[in-house]
């Protein structure tokens, strides 16, 4: 019973394509996040989202957009992929206001060729 799941685990695509990564959590949390981990292992938050507000890290290009069909899902859509988008993307969730420990998914390794 995976708490936070992501699909796909690996994604290889060409420059210019549009792709999506899916994330689902079954923890009943109200807040979900997307992180990018670059080749140097540096983790940086991209978005945090609950049903009230979307907080965007100002450094994230507008080619990246989170889409949440419901409280348990936060998908990441990426338009016009670039080589520099290659990284591992982690989804996470937490329950704000109740000791918001974050729980991470297994990650999606995106390679743009």
């Amino acid at each position: 019973d995976t708490a936070v799941s992501q699909t796909p685990k690996y994604l290889v695509t060409q420059m210019g394509n549009d792709k999506s990564i899916k994330c689902e959590q079954n923890l009943g949390h109200d807040t979900m996040y997307w992180y990018k981990q670059d080749s140097k292992k540096f983790l940086k938050i991209m978005f945090s989202y609950n049903n009230k507000e979307l907080i965007i890290n100002e450094t994230v290009p507008n080619r990246f957009s989170p889409k949440s069909p419901d409280k348990a899902h936060l998908n990441l859509h990426i338009n016009s992929l670039e080589l520099g988008d290659s990284a591992v993307y982690f989804c996470a969730s937490s329950q704000r206001g109740a000791g918001p420990e974050q729980y991470f998914g297994p990650g999606t390794r995106l390679t743009v060729t």
Partner: protein
Amino acid sequence: GIQVEQSPPDLILQEGANSTLRCNFSDSVNNLQWFHQNPWGQLINLFYIPSGTKQNGRLSATTVATERYSLLYISSSQTTDSGVYFCAVDGYSGGYQKVTFGIGTKLQVIP
């Protein structure tokens, strides 16, 4: 924004040794977490510790919020402790709440 510094950046331990990892942060924070990223890339939540001390088996953590640092203690290290340890703080930056990670401490435990 909030700056998070971790030290040391790299650490090699003989199995059975103890170690202390440090996380300094530049401003008041609401929350602080320690994570372990294993060699397979999985991020595992170790402690949620905005202040005080917690223990979980061979690991313990202490955060002194007033002095803006946190320490992670690993005792009797095992090869399975290898990986990268991240400190992450949750505080206000640029007018909104934001989670900021340190660059991590890469730990290698050798038999």
